[in-house]
Subunit: 331 residues, 2 copies
DNA sequence: CGCGTTTACGTCGTTCGTAACGATA
DNA sequence: TATCGTTACGAACGACGTAAACGCG
């Protein structure tokens, strides 16, 4: 058993059991991986994968267990390398972030630009990921941090740091009847209209559906998309009334009317999630602080070091304020 | 960075920074370790050890961190090997146990003999360890399980399973005045006599001292030893009255009188302690069950798999009953 | 017939042990 | 002078890449 074998094993598992693809990803040749995999299986004395003809078809039960352990080993090996890189003030490296479209498109650009200005040698990889898979990719060690939103409590896995709070807004084509009224729209008003929102609102336990259900209503969701830009496009096209994150509405949307909806829906929190027991590179702490200035690197480092109480982050900013201070840091 | 390098690193750390000794322990040559250590340091870009002349003098601060991570890596690698060995019903291997003298001498022989009968290919290593170091050796991965007693709650580190409860007994040369009385001795009686007990009773917070302190008395501890046999020897020699674990008194001690002391001192519990996240070999579960039959392998395995509730082990036997059922298993 | 895996083979790099050297107490 | 670590060297092993063969859809 060697670290290289374990790395190949994980690469194969993460490439959908395609050895050729895995070989490209680890910058090696396909026969090399094939052989090393066989050697590992020989040494352990059982199959890690189920073969169907020559191809890999599935992961063995024991294979799952080994992969789980191998991920820990590789993560700790990466941790050791991080300790080393931090110690010699290495400013080069990569930062892999798993996040949703809304964060990537509207919340992160300022922080990433600021990071790039300070650490030009760090290449940032924004990994586009479906909401449900974000935490899985973090746990699997495929990314260094995850940025994800929730309407309620912090995500259960990993270490979650609250970055900012935000509200939903109601978006209509400009001049729509809803915006013309004197009083703000109610849930009853909305339930009578076709809605356009995120894919996640199709889940029966989504905070959107729960808000309606709490007053005995059911929304008509005319269409969903994973992407705030698409939602706005279809709102413009008259498909219905959009309900989306306030971050997604900006100055360029002059042809849309945005009405606050904080009186209708629960507030949301965007979290920075880190893998437990991971050693962060210096620039990762810097990035977190650029993204959410109240997450000071000293305190984050202390929490990661296992300080059980840690900081409790009592003063989490609202979205708008957050942005202003972030811009100040860029300047 | 290779697994071998990390293994050498840990061996050096665990050999008191003596490379020659470490080399013997890992069955390799000293120049080999020396070179691999240097290569690892070169790759990481900093010193893991502080040199004084040519010798290793201390561990660097960063070295501590790397060693901590390396221990995890090696433990997980061992876990993978255990998964493999279990899967092919490998009945060969070793079982390393860190425990105190009393357990090794009086509680373990039956279980170890029974294990040996069932798994003759498994070599058991009883690692003699001072009370205070038992858990450290477990955490460092130097042993597979620890067996240790406490008067109160379970040890904080690792996963603790209660094996049995026991009481202390008062031991005197046969015919001693204390044994001749009608009523059982009180703490006041004992405080007036020179006592012989375990080294650990010198600690100001030991359960022995606390029992006396609770009624405003201070015991006269004439001498201590780490070893129940030594205590009995010196009781025979008239040094004083012995206070020791009931397990340590058996049929061969006809020239001693043993008086129960459960009305004077808090009951103790002996625990089997396992490293969190460790994969146990099949025979390790068997051993635990032989040692404490109520710790059934199914339930132990479930607790180790991370079942948070797990079994709660409500029926922990007293020492004497425990032994009878254990003998039954041997037969 | 293309995609993906395995087998075969030659080269290169690395590890490891032996032996000699060096430093330190 | 004994102990412990480093340097030097040669042999053996193992990993890797290229090239060709094999199976499957």
């Amino acid at each position: 058993m060697t670290l290289a074998q374990l790395r190949y094993l994980i690469a194969i598992a993460d490439s959908g059991l395609n050895i050729t693809l895995a070989a490209e990803r680890v910058h090696a040749t396909q026969p090399g991986l094939s052989k090393q995999l066989r050697q590992l299986e020989d040494e352990l004395g059982f199959q890690l994968f189920v073969r169907k003809g020559k191809s890999l078809d599935a992961v063995t039960h024991a294979g799952e267990q080994v992969i789980e352990r191998a991920r820990i080993i590789l993560a700790e090996a990466a941790n050791i390398r991080s300790i080393a890189a931090n110690l010699r003030n290495e400013a080069r490296g990569e930062l892999r972030i798993a996040t949703t479209h809304t964060q990537a498109r509207f919340a992160l650009p300022a922080a990433i630009a600021a990071l790039n200005a300070r650490y030009p040698q760090v290449s940032v990889h924004l990994e586009p990921t479906r909401d449900a898979d974000v935490l899985a990719r973090l746990e699997a060690g495929q990314v260094d941090l995850a940025i994800i939103s929730s309407a309620g409590a912090a995500p259960s896995s990993g270490i979650s740091l609250p970055a900012y709070h935000w509200q939903r807004v109601i978006v209509t084509p400009s001049g729509h009847a809803l915006a013309a009224r004197a009083r703000p729209p109610s849930l009853t008003d909305l339930a009578a209209l076709p809605l356009v929102s995120y894919d996640s609102s199709l889940r029966p336990d989504s905070s959107l559906r729960r808000a309606f259900a709490a007053v005995g209503l059911e929304p008509q969701i005319a269409m969903t998309a994973g992407d705030a830009d698409l939602i706005k496009t279809y709102v413009r096209a008259g498909m219905g009334v959009g309900i989306l994150a306030e971050m997604a509405v900006h100055d360029g949307d002059a042809d849309l009317d945005a009405l606050p909806a904080d009186h209708l829906f629960a507030p949301c929190t965007t979290w920075v999630v880190l893998r437990r027991d991971s050693v962060l590179r210096e620039y990762t702490l810097a990035f977190i602080e650029l993204f959410a200035p109240h997450l000071r690197r000293r305190e984050v480092a202390r929490v990661m070091a296992g300080d059980p109480a840690g900081a409790t982050w009592t003063h989490v900013p609202q979205w708008r304020h957050q942005r202003e201070s972030s811009r100040a840091l860029v300047a």
